[in-house]
Symmetry: C2
Subunit: 144 residues, 2 copies
DNA sequence: CCAAAACTGAAATTCATTCTCAATAATAAT
DNA sequence: ATTATTATTGAGAATGAATTTCAGTTTTGG
């Protein structure tokens, strides 16, 4: 999908859900759609000001929250800033986590059928894959 | 302080790497090992004070950083608090992200061979799986 | 064009995390 | 044991991201 098509689709999504198409929102969308990677709210704020100079940082946060709610934007967890910790209970190999969204219980499970996928991904994209994070969210038996 | 196998193993790991076995660290480890789920630094601070009342919050942060560096503790990304955002470019289905750790470039890839794994996971654990997050980290062709 | 409602920016605020530094405690050597 | 060395600590200050508040503005439907 070309960029204008993408932008138009995004606009339509907003309108369809009854949200207004404002200059700040257009600036945020335009900036995001022009960038192949991810941006922090602060970076987005800086760059989007080139499209609409009166833009405020608060509005960037609000717009991101809205777009995320609508599923138009996705959060990327980069290294820092996330909050909870569990003990690693098995000392070898890769572990993944199954997290209950209600009680927060965490169950680890051993490496999954991902090796094959990662191999193919490497071949297709040329990325040198170093690690991966997998979190599975659900409800544990007690919380259902 | 009683010491089951897990705790003793953790102590040994610390000692083996030349770190001191202090009361604050013991309190943090003891608390974490008693909890089947994940705790925020603040929660951990509250609970670990029951083991060592003079404990400071700063030390909890430092201890977590140390334990994470040693691979004894793992960060869990729960909903809030993470920083970067990308646009979702395909509007249907599940997407995963391949992130270059150097330039930050993000490439999406379609659903992987996880369905089977998730099905098995459900059968084995009884969790009702609702969603999952997968991030693959590597270096893109340009950055290698 | 007008009115109603959604939306906005700025400032103040909150909250998590990090930094600084003098005091303290764990360990190894005596 | 006692001591010396050095890692480690806690308190308070500082930082920085994210949120709240609110009066003013912009968008849209009529």
């Amino acid at each position: 999908m070309d960029m204008d098509g993408l932008l138009k689709a995004l606009h339509d999504q907003l309108r369809a859900q009854g949200y207004r198409l404002t200059k700040p929102r257009c600036a945020v969308l335009e900036t995001l759609s022009a960038v192949p990677s991810h941006l922090t709210p602060e970076q987005l704020y800086q760059q989007a000001q080139q499209h609409y100079s009166k833009l405020g940082l608060v509005t960037v946060y609000r717009t991101l929250a809205l777009l995320e709610r609508l599923g138009l934007v996705q959060r990327v967890h980069v290294k820092a800033g996330c909050h909870s910790f569990t003990l690693v209970r098995s000392f070898e190999g890769h572990h993944h986590q199954l997290i209950c969204r209600d009680c927060g219980r965490v169950e680890e499970f051993p490496d999954c059928a991902l090796d094959n996928t990662l191999e193919q991904l490497h071949k297709r994209t040329g990325f040198a894959i170093e690690t991966h994070h997998l979190e599975v969210i659900g409800r544990c038996p007690k919380c259902q």
